[in-house]
Amino acid sequence: MTRRGGLTAILAVGLILTSAPALAAASELGGFALPWWIWPVLLFVVTFLLGIVAVLAGVGGAVLFVPIVGGLFPFHFDFVRGAGLLIALSVAIAAGPALLRTGMANLRLAMPLALIASIGAIGGAYLGLALPVEWVQLGLGVTILGVVGVMLRSRKSDFPDVPRADVLSDALRMNGVYIDFVRRRKIEWRVHRTPLGLALFAGIGVLAGMFGIGAGWANVAVLNLVMGAPLKVSVATSTFMLSIVDTAAVWVYINQGAVLAIIAVPSIIGVMLGSFVSVRLLAVVSTAQIRRVVIVMLLLAGLRAFLKGLGI
């Protein structure tokens, strides 16, 4: 096995090994037979590994955290979703400064889209907290399985062809320049189909708020495939946008009492430290292999959420 393959396997096995005791304890011991401190420690380890894997695979931490922790840990789904949003927010805030400084994320592209998505996220958060948990689990399962479909089928484009900017993106000056150091050239970009993009971002906001996930996977697809932003700009702007959109939804969860410190804080610290480590691992780990592991994990987590929603 190569060094890169070995690291991938270690990360995957680590996640399984740390999650398995949680499942066993939750299902067999009622979730509270173990000493209380085991749970935050386990949560920290799982989220630290999730932070590494998620960033390497190009997905937000919450899309893995909510179905995995919601399915394997004994916490109520309300608290898992509250922590999930805080995780997505933390990863975005940790990565945001560098993405903005280097020009990979674009503030002017993000701001109008984030405003629409924020309004959707607040609506989604209230809807998610008002609906029966089983319905939300079922919806989450379907959404996660949809994410797997998007990850398997989408053929993203590094530099989509945008013949000309639309009137709205032109008025909002949603364009920019960045330096691609791999290709050693200056990339000028613009976007089109902005009204459609805005409508889709309203829907993405609802999903993010309802399920407590960042929905970065959907942001990237809309920015890149619909609006025609270069892939790097799409990924970076999507990550940064989560810091705005998830702020709106997370306040709904805080105000409804759906944030429990013992679940949220170890998770936030774990995922932030994990995302710092992942940046250093980028050079030695095969992101393609990590992506495959994440797709399998999402498939299993999505199926588990779906079955839980059906009461199975």
Partner: protein
Amino acid sequence: MSGRKRFVSPEQLIYGVWLDYGMRACLGILVIALTLYMAGFPEPVVPLEEVPRRWSLSAEAYQDLIGIGTGWAWLKVAYRGDYLSYVGIALLSTLTIGCYLRILPLLLAMRDRIYASIVIGEVAVLVLAASGLLGGGH
């Protein structure tokens, strides 16, 4: 000015700097608050060994049981171990509002009315969400 920064707008650079400082401060507060909480100091509202019996309750049932109340009611007990972390969480969830307010004067000075309006709109939406005035939920 470096090659990269030449293509980055001044408001974007300032936004990034404020986000960076805010993120570091919040992470520090959360680490300290969690350490104190795990050490049982100051005394939490819900004893640590009791929490696992309650975290499988819905948010509504949990809040009914401990009787602190929702919204900003946690501020009344922010000095207790389990609610000390809420200070860090609330700050983390307020960073975006601070960054937006920081760039608003820049946009107004540039007479960029469209983006200044977007900033005001976003801040209004986030403050409304944070205020708890929207109600709803369970």
